[in-house]
């Protein structure tokens, strides 16, 4: 078991450690209060102009599944052991808003964050982390099985700041009329809703998709006047497969 290292950051106490075996993190993270201005200043990827109140912390245990690629193309794949949702991060990319993937080696990564020194994690190891996320990061959350939850208020602010983020052109696939998405801007409404370049959209909210459907979808996801949550379904195609995605807008 590696030596435990404790760093005092303002009002927060962070403790990192990692065991050599998967699934047995030894770290206990101390509780912390609201995100402070000092933490915002120290972030690796702050939301421009956002005050501390727009951030929240989230405790996660991530497992490094492995690394791939070399040099600037290197990446690391991390799984959240609570949900087993997995994401691949490129070298230099932020993990949350307060940590950064600083180095990627063969089966090992280094995470840095603010004043926290380098933390190494080996493939197959779990590490407990305190992630700080902006409200935009959780405006739309993929729950799996093509089900998403959307917080309309946050999505509305995001839509105002970053826009729809994509355009589309009409297509026909397997006898189905639809649209094909062009490049999707990261951090935009469509980006946060999980769309990517090349996606085919056939229906939005039960209506045949047109290029104008992208803006309509973003507006539905940002609809804050509803007193109850609503479900917006889209039929889309990706990589040849067709499926229906449901957004529960709250």
């Amino acid at each position: 078991m590696k030596t435990t290292t404790q760093i005092l950051l303002g009002a927060a106490l962070l403790t990192f450690s990692a065991c050599s075996g998967a699934g047995e993190p030894s770290v206990t993270l101390a509780s912390s209060g609201p995100i402070t201005a000092g933490e915002v200043r120290a972030m690796t990827a702050p939301e421009p102009g956002a005050p501390p109140a727009e951030y929240k912390e989230r405790r996660v245990t991530l497992r490094l599944l492995g690394t791939q690629g070399e040099g600037a193309l290197a990446s690391a794949t991390l799984a959240d052991t609570a949900t087993w949702h997995t994401r691949t991060y490129k070298l230099g990319e932020s993990v949350g808003r307060n940590l950064r993937l600083a180095a990627i080696g063969e089966s090992e990564i280094e995470l840095v964050g603010g004043e926290v020194p380098v933390r190494k994690v080996r493939a197959g190891e779990d590490v407990q982390l305190r992630l700080i996320e902006h409200e935009f990061d959780t405006a739309a959350v993929d729950k799996g099985e093509h089900q998403w939850t959307v917080r309309a208020a946050a999505m509305a602010r995001l839509l105002t700041r970053y826009g729809v983020g994509a355009t589309a052109t009409p297509i026909e696939f397997a006898g189905l009329a639809g649209v094909k998405l062009g490049p999707v801007q990261p951090g935009s409404a469509l980006g946060r809703l999980g769309f990517q370049l090349g996606d085919l959209l056939f229906e939005v909210g039960g209506q045949p998709a047109t290029p104008a459907s992208l803006e309509a979808l973003a507006a539905l996801a940002a609809e804050t006047t509803q007193s109850r949550s609503q479900v917006v379904t889209v039929k889309l195609g990706r990589g040849g497969a067709l499926f229906e995605r449901a957004y529960v807008v709250e």
């Binding site: 599944l65 492995g66 193309l73 794949t77 099985e145 040849g240």
Partner: protein, 315 residues
Amino acid sequence: MRAPRTRRRLRRHDLRAALTAAGLSLLVAATADAADPQKLAGIGDSISQGFSANNWPGDHPSYAFGQGTDAGVNSLYLRYKAKFPALTKEFVTVSGAEMVGGSNSAAAQAARICAQGSRPNRVVIELGGNDVCNRDSGTAADAASGLYSVTTYRNGLKAALDLLGGCLPSGSQVLVLSMPRVDYLYEAGNAKSSFLCNAVWSLAGVCTVVTSETSATRRRQIGARVDAYNDGLRTEVAAAESRYTGKVHFITDWQGPLTSSPNTSVGAYKFSAADINTVDCFHPHKDTGQKKLACDAWEASEYGNLANIGSTCLR
């Protein structure tokens, strides 16, 4: 090397007879042995969802090799149910799922199985295609450099196997199918209709890492990575079998790549134009590809014989 499955079953039956004769039936019940199939679950992607298996776009699970109810496909579920009529099924398969990535990974699906009110004692896993097809093209030197490393792939599977090993009832069995060579699927599509299939692939973005790759050498680099994934899959299955010995059996159909063990598993099978559908030229058709997968899965199970896969299923 493990003894063939038929001989292992024979040894168990001989032992049971002997111990019963000695009046030690209680000891037999306490030893590790596969419980009869009661419920079948599945972890998988669009292949497991029977995507476009009948040449109509969309998921058609009734025509899927694992959970299908179509008599022509004669799925793994129907074959088990023929022996055990009370068998039920509850698959958690999701089109677009990967072994490693996203919100429907092997481990995420395994967790859903573990959360089922009535846990299965038979599970079939079919994943891997999207792990390759969702990746970007590699560097000029190595077409596979954009793919997950074998370590990443193995750890993604390992997480799922450990979840299942921990939650499934004693006597359960988990079958992990090898993943198909996507470069062979590309060749099958070209054989089917080069013009139409390439047009569909381009429009729908089907497995672009392979379908937009003009170099056969580079496509084979990707195929070699798939072989390495399958070798790693077999290693993880064997390791899980060791970790959970006496509780859960872990098995696979993978016996080696096409170069050494042709048509002996899904991963070592060279797909033909007839095996795939006419919607996306990539997913298996119900009358051919899905039917062959069902046969492969059955012969890899405890009631089949791996030696039959090449002679009976994949030809």
